[in-house]
Amino acid sequence: MKTKFLAPLAIFVLLAGFLAYGLTLNPREVPSPLVGKPAPEFTAPRLDAPEQSFRVSDMRGQVFLLNVWASWCVSCRQEHPLLVQLSRQGVVPVVGLNYKDERAAALQWLREGGDPYTTNVVDADGRIGIEYGVYGTPETFLIDQQGVIRYKHIGPMSPDVLRDVLLPKIAELSRG
């Protein structure tokens, strides 16, 4: 058997391998280039007290989660109970970024589902979201004491991700 005639088969086997592995991937998930970089600074009005503003650098010295959410976001409902539970445990403060939302609707949502956020800020036109590379809610950023983004989770938070990825990372960062 001449080897050159085996070439098509060899190429196909390689291709099939990639395709098989591709079945486990999500082609629509966009990894963030901001991981490992400083969290973009912003100043935004607080949801509960719009005359007061909040800056990302206010959280310097703490490890915290920045959760991007909105009352119109269906998937956010999924993760909300988990966030409330997390806030009760007091492991890590959660800062909320209310993305392109109506203030009244947002406050109503928090009243109904509980408020897991230590602070909630308003990003009415989505500019802060663009700075953070937000493309769909909910998204959650893990930011360390120096204000560097350490991890980004896209989509609703799940107990698995919390348990296996976030909590260990938080513990690690808090130690170091």
Binding site: M1, P8, L9, F12, A16, L19, G22, L25, P27
Partner: protein
């Protein structure tokens, strides 16, 4: 009840497919006529039961039986009847059934029109097709059953996706599937030839009409799909190099190479292993396309609801079919080498060059489509590959193909003289460059793309005229009408198809160079101008359709004093899912399209209106029509029918029958 009947018919179809797959192959191995003869009735029975299943599914949709999951998800009682019928293939499960039905239809056609072929060969062909049928029907039954019940039944369906409630939906999928699936015949012929170890000019002659007809269907299917996207999506685009579009284009590219390769194998007995590889490749790409669209590994507007579990099943099918065929190729192809020799400059080498370039172009499309997957799998980041890449790679690759396309027909078989060709063609080449440049200047759009496109188009047109004159000049003295009649259909086919490419290139180049777009906010009575046309907005009216509510605007288009058209773009909301959709209104003309679509009502009485000017865009569809017509001429050449008769009756034919 009907759904259960359809389900049962599908099961029977699978059983028959397995019979069709196994028994004739065993018969061919041992040269047992009785077993080989099972192939034809099994194939016909399989087709019959599939047809019953398909009709049952269609009946479920027509009757709006929402106790069947598929109907509940893809139909609605108010959906117009035609879209209840075509909605059957507007989803994963139903379209799979259509795929299987198309395959079965082609198989029956092969059994009907190939009676003169040797029994053992046909048994193998039918057997191979049976295996593929079995694969698809089993996939349908085990992972994508269209007859699954929804209990308790839904009170109302969710309606067919509004984008699919369109005449394009009526013709595009059937044409496309007939094309995709049609390449399975060439594939089965190739596998049968590899199995028997014999691949000769006769084999190529048998394969050609089947392959050409499949190619015609695929050309038509892609063209209709492109035209549909053009008027449906609302912004005048017609090709986006989307993964699913590419999935249909790749088999077309290899299919084109295959048609040309078969011509050489038939005439000169050369390229045999190359032809077989192309036949395997074209159908493999069809299967790959099926995988890409239904597995979720790529993102596309056209992709069906994705499910990795189903993707795994299709991948397994792919690996089996393609893996076995390529393995067979590696084993048997070395014995196929040989065939007539030919010079470095000859018709054969031109065609071979064409094949190599088309294959590379196909590879470029495949690479671009799958590269994001490759990088993601290797954890090397996530990228997107879109039109900028494809245009930068595909156009330079196709340029030599188009040039060669018009040199090839002038080159002699076996060997030719470069100087002679140069003398024949230099003037046409020069004229093309001048014409291309001149037109680019005339339209005031001189870019390397426009000059290249126009030069290539001019080359095709000028060389086509020259080719025809030469052909007519072969019988000097005879009346022109006799000379025209004397040219075989296959030659006209080649001539028309090549001309079609030239026309296509004109369309693409002119649209790309001269298109104009404008978005305006218009109130009743206001006017605006674009590309020399004046548009007057006459307000919008409410209108209630069968399953949608619409705002229909009226826009008068004039040019100077002449009234060109009154266009009526619409903004619809389909009630079932509250899904908004825009229906553009186009004034189609031979030299330009004037295209208007309606945006949002930003203030009461003030609408955003999108205007688009598309010069020569009809030439794109015309080019495709000419290509398809060329294919039809080529496939219906009398030679095939006459040779078929000769095969059946001559002693040579009898010997072949026994073999």
């Amino acid at each position: 009840m009907i759904a259960e009947l359809g389900h049962f018919a599908l099961i029977l179809a699978l059983v028959l497919a397995l019979v069709q797959a196994v028994v004739p192959m065993i018969g061919a191995r041992g040269n047992r006529m009785a077993l080989m003869a099972v192939g034809r009735p099994a194939a016909r029975g399989h087709f019959l039961f599939l047809l019953v299943a398909y009709v049952c599914l269609t009946w479920v949709f027509i009757q709006s039986d929402f106790s069947v999951q598929l109907a509940a998800s893809n139909s609605h009682s108010d959906t117009p009847l035609i879209y209840k019928i075509t909605g059957v293939w507007g989803n994963h499960e139903g379209s799979l059934l259509l795929w299987a039905l198309a395959l079965s239809g082609w198989t029956v056609a092969v059994t009907v029109f190939s009676r003169h072929l040797p029994e053992a060969f046909m048994a193998r062909v039918v057997g191979v097709l049976g295996w593929i049928s079995a694969g698809f029907v089993s996939f349908t039954l085990f992972t994508s059953n269209p007859f699954d019940r929804l209990l308790p039944a839904a009170a109302q369906g969710r309606d067919l996706n509004p984008l699919l409630q369109d005449p394009g939906m009526i013709i595009h999928p059937p044409l496309l599937y007939m094309g995709y699936v049609g390449f399975s015949v060439a594939f089965a012929f190739a596998i049968a030839a590899l199995l028997t170890g014999r691949l000769d000019a006769a084999w190529a002659r048998w394969s050609r009409p089947w392959t050409t007809v499949a190619w015609v269907f695929l050309t038509a299917g892609i063209a209709v799909g492109s035209g549909w996207a053009y008027y449906e999506l609302g912004w005048g685009g017609w090709w986006f190099w989307d993964p699913v579009e590419n999935a249909s284009f790749m088999p077309w590219l290899l299919g084109t190479a295959l048609i040309h390769s078969l011509a050489v194998t038939e005439k000169r007995g050369a390229f045999r292993s190359w032809t077989v590889l192309l036949a395997i490749g074209a159908f493999s790409l069809s299967l790959l396309g099926t995988f890409l669209v239904r597995s979720g590994v790529i993102t596309s507007v056209h992709a069906f609801a994705t499910d990795p579990a189903r993707g795994l099943y299709i991948l397994a099918l792919l690996v089996l079919v393609i893996g076995i065929s390529l393995g067979l190729f590696a084993w048997r192809a070395p014995k196929l080498s040989g065939g007539g020799s030919f010079a470095l400059l000859s018709r054969e080498s031109s065609l071979l060059g064409n094949n190599v370039l088309l294959a590379v172009a196909c590879f470029a499309v495949l690479l671009g489509t799958l590269y994001p997957l490759f990088l993601d799998a290797l954890n090397m980041g996530k990228i997107s590959v879109g039109p900028p890449y494809f245009e930068a790679t595909f156009v330079p690759l196709m340029t030599p193909v188009v040039i060669l396309m018009m040199i090839g027909p002038f080159v002699r078989w076996k060997g030719d003289d470069g100087a002679r060709l140069g003398r024949m063609l230099w003037l046409s080449a020069l004229a093309s460059v001048i014409a291309g440049g001149a037109v680019a200047v005339a339209i005031d759009h001189v870019t390397w793309r426009s000059v290249l496109g126009l030069t290539l188009a001019a080359w095709v047109l000028i060389a086509s005229v020259q080719l025809l004159r030469r052909r007519l000049g072969e019988r000097p003295g005879a009346p022109v009408i006799n000379r025209l009649r004397g040219i075989p259909a296959a030659w006209w086919g080649m001539w028309l198809a090549h001309l079609g490419i030239g026309v296509f290139v004109i369309g693409v180049t002119m649209v790309g160079s001269l298109e104009q777009d404008l978005d305006v906010k218009m109130r009743e009575g206001q006017t605006t101008e674009l590309a020399g046309y004046t548009f007057t907005f006459n307000g919008a009216q409410r209108f209630a359709g069968p399953n949608y509510d619409a705002e229909t605007a009226s826009v008068t288009v004039t040019r100077g004093d002449r009234r060109i058209a009154v266009l009526t773009p619409e903004k619809r909301v389909y009630r079932a899912q509250s899904m908004p959709m825009t229906e553009a209104s186009i004034d189609v003309g031979p030299l330009r399209d004037v295209y208007v679509s309606l945006g949002d009502q930003v203030e009461p009485g003030a609408w955003i209106v999108s205007l688009h000017f598309r010069p020569f865009i009809s030439w794109i569809w015309l080019g495709c029509i000419l290509m398809g017509l060329g294919g039809i001429f080529a496939a219906t050449d009398r030679r095939y029918r006459k040779l078929a008769e000769r095969d059946a009756t001559s002693p040579v034919g009898a010997a072949a029958q026994a073999g």
